[in-house]
């Protein structure tokens, strides 16, 4: 079976939001820094009151690959994978699959994408889709 992430109690809101089609990330209530992967402490100000808040769904591809090898049982290959710098904050990168593209589609750096959601087992995961196929 496909491994799924441990849903830690303090991160449950990320997954609940994704199930409802909302993109929420951990945000420091003191200095508003967005923190991904989520952390119980802000790396910027060391504030420790972290809340999940809805953030902008758009971003720019900064790295990509097409994965051909099936590392994880049950994973369908090939698929396009992208690291996206989110518009919400400088150097805030979210890595996930790129959907709604033809098989073996090679993304390109600088491509504009937006968050969508895809079901994986019992979970909904944030993924990306092109804002327009260029």
């Amino acid at each position: 079976m496909r491994p799924s992430p441990k849903i830690a109690i303090e991160e449950a809101e990320f997954w609940e939001a994704a199930t409802n089609g909302i993109f929420k990330l951990a945000t420091c209530t003191s200095c508003a820094t967005i923190i991904h992967p989520p952390s119980p402490v802000c790396f910027q100000c060391h504030g420790d009151v972290i809340r999940f808040q809805e953030v902008s769904r758009t971003g720019t591809v900064v790295a990509f690959t097409t994965v051909f090898y099936q590392f994880v049982p049950g994973e369908s290959v090939p698929y396009a994978l992208v690291s996206v710098e989110l518009d919400a904050q400088d150097e805030l990168v979210f890595t996930s699959k790129l959907i709604d593209v033809p098989p073996e589609f090679e993304p390109h750096i600088g491509m504009t994408v937006e968050v969508a959601f895809a079901q994986s087992g019992d979970l909904y995961l944030p993924v990306f889709r092109p804002v327009r196929v260029q």
């Binding site: 496909r2 992430p5 992967p37 690959t65 097409t66 090898y69 996930s96 750096i109 994986s120």
Partner: protein, 391 residues
């Protein structure tokens, strides 16, 4: 006493088990065989060993290793004053660095450092063993479920960023794989010894673009051990390899994907620290054993260590001529992890010591004897490097 703490610690003995794909022996047998060879090489007895350091130890995740200090202590009934297994440190070399620290702190005089790999056996049981847990915890929970399950994929993303900034031809990656294979032909323990052609490389199945199968290192079963001794210890230290400087720094974002210019990984921090603590310069280096978990990590280390500038690795490699055994900077003279086998940095350190001691046989770089040699390991969130010199 060296001005650098730990600078009076030397690598006094080397040992390696048989290397198999897979091995029919247990990991404990492989570990004991490597350790026995290292202790004998140091002209010591088991009773001299008062410290034990391992990477990563016996409680590591499924997929590699599985012998820790307690199991080895019990097998040999060693009388230890200090021991540690360090699974998250400045790469597997960090286990050696912790041994250096223990000696410098006065906790031990002769530390045995070992690592056992069992990746080949794990793969034979099915690669799924590494992902047997249905629930993924740790940093990987933000990568694996999202489609980035393993280092070749994480590094494929990094390579795409590098290619965007500087350009990257598959031929450059191929020249690293072909160089290492050519060196492996002269290494008796290398698992792949037949020459690799560019046509074979280009025809190989893709793993994650731009990487194909020949860009990935080879899982093996095997163990490597070192004896670290205080320089002033009793006994003959004439063959000892000196540790001139260690790079163990980590200052950026210790993740795989969170830096926009993500090719700038922890190897850059480690390399900067190593050079900061020595007068030896990159131009003094006789050969380098650079981490080649992927072909691309050799490019990254060449730039991190300042052998060339950012984006200049392809020019430096020069289609293979720049890194060949008769070239200006011989790289991975034993075949490295791409062709000799994935002994996770300990294989690189073993070959580095052989080169300094002048014991690398037909692979010997003549001017490496007693000269500065660099060994590096790791990338992404964890990396380390060490500068070796003669006694």
């Amino acid at each position: 006493m060296s001005p650098i703490p730990g600078g009076d610690v030397a690598i006094n003995g080397l040992g390696m088990s048989s290397v198999g794909r897979p091995s029919l022996s247990s990991s404990l047998t492989l570990a004991v065989n490597a350790c026995r060879a290292a202790v004998a090489d140091a002209h010591l007895d088991w009773s001299d060993i008062d410290g034990l350091a391992a990477f990563p130890g016996g409680l590591s995740r499924a997929g590699s290793n599985g012998v820790g200090p307690p199991e080895l202590q019990n097998a040999l009934r060693l009388e230890l004053d200090w021991y540690a297994a360090t699974g998250e440190c400045a790469s597997p070399l960090g286990a050696v660095f912790s041994g250096v620290g223990a000696i410098a702190a006065g906790l031990a005089n002769h530390v045995l450092c070992f690592q056992v790999m069992s990746d080949a056996s794990t793969r034979k049981r099915g690669l799924t063993a590494a992902f047997a847990d249905a629930s993924v915890d740790g940093l990987l929970r933000w990568l694996l479920p999202f489609g980035s399950p393993a280092a070749p994929v994480h590094l494929a993303l990094v390579a795409s960023r590098y290619a965007h900034l500087y350009g990257l031809e598959r031929q450059t990656l191929a020249s690293v794989a072909i160089n290492n294979r050519a060196n492996a032909a002269d290494n008796p323990w290398a698992v792949f010894q037949a020459p690799l052609s560019i046509d074979e490389y280009l025809a190989a199945p893709m793993i994650a673009s731009p990487f194909c199968r020949f860009d990935c290192d080879v899982p093996v079963d095997g163990a490597v051990a070192f004896v670290l001794s205080r320089d002033t210890a009793d006994g003959d230290m004439s063959r000892a390899v000196r540790i001139a400087s260690i790079g163990s720094a980590n200052r950026g974002r210790a993740t795989w994907d969170q830096v926009k210019d993500s090719w700038h990984m922890s190897d850059f921090d480690a390399a900067a620290m190593m050079w900061r603590r020595t007068d030896i310069r990159p131009t003094d280096i006789a050969c380098a054993q650079l981490y080649d978990g992927m072909t691309f990590t050799v490019l990254s280390w060449l730039e991190a260590l300042g052998f060339c500038g950012p984006g200049e690795a392809a020019d430096f490699i020069e289609g293979g001529a720049g890194i060949a055994r008769n070239g200006p900077l011989p790289i991975n003279t034993d075949g490295g992890q791409l062709s000799a086998g994935k002994l996770q940095g300990f294989g690189h350190l073993y070959e580095g010591c052989l080169q300094v001691r002048g014991e690398a046989g037909v692979r010997q770089i003549p001017h490496a004897v007693g000269s500065p040699v660099v060994v590096s390991m790791g990338t992404g969130p964890m990396a380390g490097c060490v500068l070796l010199t003669g006694s």
